[in-house]
């Protein structure tokens, strides 16, 4: 009996300790938040289609981009791959029956929901106008918006993250199936593990910082207030100490997903497995050393800025190693452009563009001109949307058969992937140009000479929105009674999660599996889809 059939009451879902069900609870919640954040983005792009501030007031606009940032970062991106795909797959990939602390996992979800509801409540009350970065002294002393309520929601959500990270760390250390050494683990597990270390070490600093801002707002405990001897920049040090590693929380799991999809659809073992694993650790470590590159023009000393600039260049090295290795994996592979592969390839390309523009911003002298312009906005959207969201979608498409036991319509999925890729570039590439020309971010009006590029960007957003809505339909359609059943391993992938039925039974495996001889044991010469005996069609049974 699959995990989906084991208990059909609401109670069995809301009190579950099954990591697979908790993953689905997260998936539904983050999808809801994604569309709320997307609605804010829609209003932003509608406003920016014309130079005049005619759709919303400046104050409403400030609240819109803040809501967009807060929801997309904390309620969508941070939990997306770890809490959905990580929760579902980690125990399966390591041959375990569940995470180390299943009840803590459920608590994580409830904390996430509580934090999310508090943030939504603050939106209904009128929202926050400080930007998702909550810079002091505006957030502590001058903003007339619901800062304390929003930050309380962020605080609660932060604890959800910390507990999830704790769970994954202990699980990967202690519950690997006998014989599964670290270098037999899929790179997705490495990526989630490194992400979990960042979650555990960085998020607490955000937590204490939100408490200090709330204390200053409510009781004038002014640690960031110069009138008492405090320093507003101290807030930025503490905030970015978390928020820079946070972007690696968002991108490392995406890299893990890409490392699972690309070898499978190129039928080739990943190039440089050990370097890929070390690069993941390198990104996680160096990522803690670079936060000051968000503060080049804020009053930080020039000496410190130079140090952070140099360190920021260094973090590009492990990232580029990964890009080279994904590319090398394709070389002489037997490549299939199924939907997951389209998303993974899109991820690699767009992440590369985003990463290169990150180097531009890491250069101190260039950043002085480009900071707080649309260049920055475009850079981080290339990474977070072109990178993380595409990889999340790729992962959803790759593991949908395993999670639901159903196969979606691949043609529609490919159409959606292409629409997302094209829409994304149309939306965000013009923003690089706008940034170089000097258009500042977080303004609801702009000089008329910027209109053409803004209009292109807003048009792209329409295409992007269609691309994001399509999966709702074909995924839902795949679940209909009589929909196409997927076998245990429709993509002939390696990995222990594919050795168990789709969807898996409640305890994951009938018998605990033996680890594979070789992780990523693919061979392009033995591509099952080129097997003449099967007429070139996808086999329903796993090929060994």
């Amino acid at each position: 009996m699959s995990y989906l059939e084991d208990g059909l009451t609401l109670r069995s879902w809301f009190f579950t300790t099954d990591h697979k069900r908790i993953a689905i609870l997260y998936a539904i919640a983050i999808t809801g938040f994604f569309f709320i954040g997307g609605a804010a983005a829609t209003l932003i792009r509608l406003e920016l289609a014309t130079p005049a501030g005619d759709l919303v007031s400046h104050d409403t606009y400030n609240r819109l981009f803040t809501a967009h940032g807060v929801i997309m970062v904390w309620l969508f991106l941070i939990p997306s791959i770890p809490s959905v795909l990580g929760n579902f797959l980690i125990p399966l990939m390591i041959g375990a029956r569940d995470l180390a602390f299943p009840r803590l996992n459920l608590l994580s979800w409830y904390l996430y929901i509580a934090g999310g509801l508090i943030i939504l409540a603050s939106l209904f009350l009128g929202g926050v106008d400080t930007g998702w970065t909550f810079y002091t002294p505006y957030s502590t002393m001058f903003s007339n918006s619901w800062v304390a309520v929003t930050l309380t929601g962020v605080f609660v959500t932060g604890f959800s993250s910390i507990l999830t990270g704790l769970n994954f760390i202990v699980t990967v250390h202690t519950l690997r199936t006998p014989g599964m050494g670290w270098f037999k683990l899929p790179l997705f597990v490495w990526a989630i593990y490194a992400t979990s270390v960042i979650l555990v070490l960085a998020t607490p600093v955000l937590a204490i910082t939100t408490l200090l801002v709330i204390a200053e707002r409510l009781w004038q405990i002014g640690v960031f207030d110069p009138a008492y001897g405090g320093d507003p920049l101290l807030f930025q040090h503490l905030f970015w100490f978390y928020s820079h590693p946070a972007v690696y929380i968002m991108v490392l799991p995406a890299m893990g997903v890409a490392s699972e999809i690309i070898p499978c659809f190129a039928r080739q073992r990943i190039f440089g497995y050990r370097f890929m694993a070390y690069a993941i650790l390198g990104i996680a470590s160096i990522g803690f050393l670079v936060w000051g590159h968000h503060m080049f023009v804020s009053g930080q000393s020039v000496a410190a800025s130079m140090v952070f600039s140099l360190l920021s260049f260094m973090v590009a090295i492990p990232s580029s190693i990964k890009v080279f290795n994904w590319t090398a994996t394709l070389y002489r592979g037997s490549i299939h452009f199924d939907a997951p592969m389209l998303y993974a390839l899109g991820f690699v390309g767009l992440f590369t563009v985003g990463g290169l523009t990150g180097l531009v911003l890491a250069s101190l002298s260039l950043d002085v001109h480009l900071t707080d312009t649309y260049f920055v906005v475009s850079h981080f959207h290339y990474i977070m949307v072109g990178g993380s969201v595409m990889a999340y979608f790729g992962g959803l498409h790759f593991w949908w058969p395993k999670i639901t036991g159903r196969m979606y319509a691949d043609t529609w999925a490919r159409i959606a992937a292409v629409l997302i890729f094209l829409g994304f570039n149309l939306t965000f590439f013009p923003q690089y140009l706008l940034g170089v020309q000097g258009m500042p971010r977080r303004y609801h009006t702009y000089p008329p000479e910027f209109q053409v590029l803004n209009l292109l960007s807003s048009s792209g957003a329409v295409v992007l929105a269609v691309g994001y809505l399509l999966p709702l339909f074909y995924f839902a359609w795949s679940l209909r009674p009589g929909g196409r059943i997927a076998g245990a391993n429709p993509f002939h992938a390696t990995g222990l999660e594919w050795t168990t039925p789709s969807p898996p039974p409640k305890d994951n495996f009938e018998q605990l599996p033996e680890p594979p001889q070789e992780v990523y044991g693919y061979d392009p010469a033995k591509d099952p889809r080129h097997d003449p005996a099967r007429g070139g069609a996808m086999a329903a049974e796993p090929v060994r």
Binding site: A96, R97, D98, A100, F101, P102, I162, G165, L166, N167, I169, V170, H173, T174, L175, R176, T177, P178, G179, M180, V200, L201, A202, T203, P204, V205, A207, I208, T209, L211, L212, A215, W219, Q220, I221, G222, V223, Y228, G229, G230, D231, L234, H237, L238, D507, L512
Partner: protein, 214 residues
């Protein structure tokens, strides 16, 4: 016990058997690492404040009650030793019957700490040392010191209160021989208690002993 053998014994493997110490202990240490960073933000703010306002911090620190502070430090250090002994008793068949009493003593010492802290806060309130208009001291940074003092000690006291509740629950459960309070869980609770003690070990010199010699 190596990780693979430990894995085989997890309840989600074989159904019903207790997970080995390794899993819970590792989990608590990971949590402690996160708490180091949680308190750590406040310690960074302190480092900033003291390095920029040495005179203000010195003057303000002299207005903390060093007698009560030292007493409290002694109380907490003792409570740590007591709970460490309790854990040893829980793991020793000959002395197991002392575990519950030692746990209750630990909790009692924690309560004493909270009461003394409350007395200090009351004193500081009457001496106009709470931040806000009417703050007593005039040196630059003195008010910042007391802002950090109250936030750090209050956060510590909150963690201690959670510890007192947890240790009391285990004391009661051990007395009732409840199955959910085996020695390895008492060990994990004790790790948390020791961590709260370590935070105070650092708060003591930083808050009470900045400069006492003038």
């Amino acid at each position: 016990m190596n990780a693979n053998a430990a894995a085989r014994e997890h309840p989600h493997y074989a159904g019903g058997r207790e997970p080995p110490r390794e899993i819970g202990q590792l989990g608590m240490w990971v949590f402690i690492a996160s708490e180091i960073l949680f308190f750590g933000g406040l310690f960074v703010a302190y480092v900033y404040g003291r390095s920029h306002w040495p005179n203000g911090f010195a003057q303000a620190s002299r207005h903390t009650d060093v007698v009560l502070g030292t007493l409290n430090t002694g109380v907490l250090l003792t409570s740590s030793a007591v709970i460490a002994l309790a854990v040893a008793c829980a793991e020793s068949p000959a002395f197991r019957r002392w575990t519950a009493r030692l746990l209750w003593l630990t909790a009692a010492l924690g309560v004493i700490f909270i009461v003394v802290k409350g007395m200090e806060y009351r004193k500081e309130w009457h001496e106009h040392l709470f931040p806000g208009p009417g703050f007593e001291l005039d040196a630059g940074g003195a008010q910042l010191f007391f802002m950090l003092y109250f936030v750090m000690t209050a956060l510590h006291a909150l963690h201690l209160a959670i510890g007192i509740v947890g240790v009391s629950l285990f004391a009661w459960a051990t007395g009732q021989a409840k199955s959910w309070a085996p020695p390895r869980r008492i060990d994990i609770m004790a790790l948390y208690w020791h961590f709260v003690d370590v935070v105070w070990i650092f708060l003591y010199p930083l808050l009470y002993l900045v400069e006492r010699h003038s």
